[in-house]
Symmetry: C2
DNA sequence: TCCGTATGTGGAACCCGTCCCACATGGAGT
DNA sequence: ACTCCATGTGGGACGGGTTCCACATACGGA
């Protein structure tokens, strides 16, 4: 409740002096400092950040947009982003955009309303045009949003290749390929193109199963896996995002298929869920912590008014050998 | 950039009038309204929320404290909390408290600094004393934090009973009981007491394995499960939180045990991970969405200056029958 | 002695919406 | 004719830090 002027009055000094004590800048004599500090203690003074924010025109908050935080990929991303932002002195605001209404647009608008100093978006729904209009600090995870907005992503082409090679090396002849919808332009499609290319080169048949747009809840993946089997497709290999790969594997086990003898599986993303299933799934692992760190590094730079030349940060993926493919043939 | 006074000047009106147009209150003639709206459009005016916040002494932000958002339980909780807060018009700030430093304390301090209007805490580390001093809107998930702070929790006693009954009915004689550390006072211990009581009544032997304090990452559970087996304990039943139950099951499968024939398993929490493993795990399910809704309902009330009498909201749990116990004996 | 500079302090404007209060005007009711 | 009230509008204080600028003192060096 007490304001800086209350403190000033009690300590018999000007509010400027109190401010100086508070921020530890400018000249203040030891004696005065003590008087002020005592007054602050007596009045139980806590500076009002809202007033500071108004003056400085910044809130110290970065918004992180994801379709759904409950999804393990985004949960891990947000976890690391928060930890990293904290190190930079920023607070983290989150928003699930996969809800009714246009939450994505609303959160972007918070940039103009000075509620947040920057936005890290892992969302792929809004039109690129909407982003072009906003000349504010934005960093995109794995999505092209126009010339001006930096992207942080992994080398998906290499990811697709690692997955393909693992399945080819394991001797697959017919693989089920669960892929993101092509409705959205995004770097992550690279993995699918590269995967298909290598499969074709090695004369492996693929069956594409396209995911529903903007679905990230686990029930969807359970459903999708069931759906695949209802179609009666025969395959000896599976490539898809973590949860789809897992749900597919579960269906296979229920049908008494042996993994990896009968069917080989490679998951994409390699979040923790691929480690808590049995057998552990061979996965193309995205470096979540690095993705988060780069995103934060960039947004911090932009929020401090610096510009960034290198509009694309490409990180590397690696293959984590599980027991759903055959290593060392 | 443009301020309300710039708009006023351009429209040849007072700033009060612009404010009235903005907030749609008070008397404004249709003619004036139009003039103002035009000026706003021309100047590309967006109200500065920071100034509003200062005046109203509130930020419209609620902080949610969890040990780690990547943990599925907290991820689901945060997901639903965010969705619910959004409906109330609040923004969601998150904080992982399981990091170096005293993040929990810092975030509580944000209440005094007017950065957030309320805190929902799912964290169990800070001393209760620290909370007593703060007379601000706080809601606790599943933790006693003094007389003044409302708790939202499930009926853990019933949860412990459901789990115990499922294992007893399945014919267990020796069960491994993974339990939270007793270092923290919390309602969730009820489930352990009740579980033990019923086991004893039914002459079932239990082996307690106490979890490490404040560990929620999946590597810990993998490690803990391995640790159990290194101890050479023999058991035909397992009761523990989702991830522990899962990791234990994986170890059992690796050792060629049949589930549920050789060993029965009941998980506590019933987050989505218990549904994406094979076999699906019989779980005591916490109603995540309801927990989130109640938490938000309470914090919204408190943030609006209302007090709340009923200091404890108890929600019900249910048993979801999976295929790791035997139903219908 | 005089100037330059380091040290120390306070008044007041400023950031930008909000809202109290004062002041119009015009028509209805008595 | 006069009060009352609905309608319409603007000035200016306010919320609470921050910082520019003005001013004062003290001390070292020339």
């Amino acid at each position: 409740m007490a304001s800086i002027r209350d403190v000033a009055k009690r300590a018999n000094v000007g509010s400027t002096t109190v401010s100086r004590v508070l921020n530890n800048n400018g000249y203040v004599s030891a004696e005065t400092r003590e008087k002020v500090e005592e007054a602050m203690k007596e009045l139980n003074y806590v500076p009002n950040e809202l007033a500071r924010n108004l003056f400085h025109k910044k809130s110290g908050i970065i918004a992180v947009l994801v379709p759904s935080v409950a999804n393990p990929f985004f949960a891990e991303f947000v976890e690391h982003v928060e930890i990293e932002l904290y190190k930079y002195g920023y607070k983290t605001m989150i928003c699930n955009t996969a809800k009714e209404g246009n939450a994505e647009m609303e959160y972007l608008d918070m940039l103009n309303r000075h509620i947040v100093d920057g936005v890290i978006t892992g969302v792929h729904t809004l039109d690129v045009e909407e982003y072009r209009k906003i000349h504010k600090p934005i960093v995109a995870l794995d999505r092209y949003l126009g010339e001006d907005i930096p992207i942080v992503a992994v080398n998906h082409k290499r990811g697709g290749r690692l997955a393909a090679e693992a399945l080819v090396a394991s001797g697959c002849k017919n693989v089920l390929h669960f892929r993101g919808t092509l409705a959205v332009e995004s770097p992550y499609h690279e993995r699918h193109y590269e995967f298909e290319r290598i499969m074709k080169k090695n004369h492996v048949q693929t069956y594409a199963y396209e995911s529903e747009w903007n679905r990230f809840d686990s029930n969807y993946f359970i459903q999708a896996a069931k759906d695949v089997f209802s179609k009666g497709i025969e395959f000896d290999g599976v490539f898809g995002v973590d949860q789809f790969a897992i749900c597919c594997m579960n269906e296979l086990i229920r049908r008494n298929k042996k993994i990896p003898q009968d069917v080989k599986i490679v998951a994409y993303d390699g979040t923790y869920v691929t480690k808590i299933v049995e057998p552990q799934i061979t996965s193309v692992v995205q470096p979540m912590e690095e993705l988060a760190k780069e995103s934060v590094r960039l947004i911090a730079k932009l929020a401090n008014g610096k510009t960034y030349q290198n509009k694309k940060v490409l990180l590397d993926v690696k293959l984590r050998q599980g027991r759903t493919t055959i290593a060392d043939l």
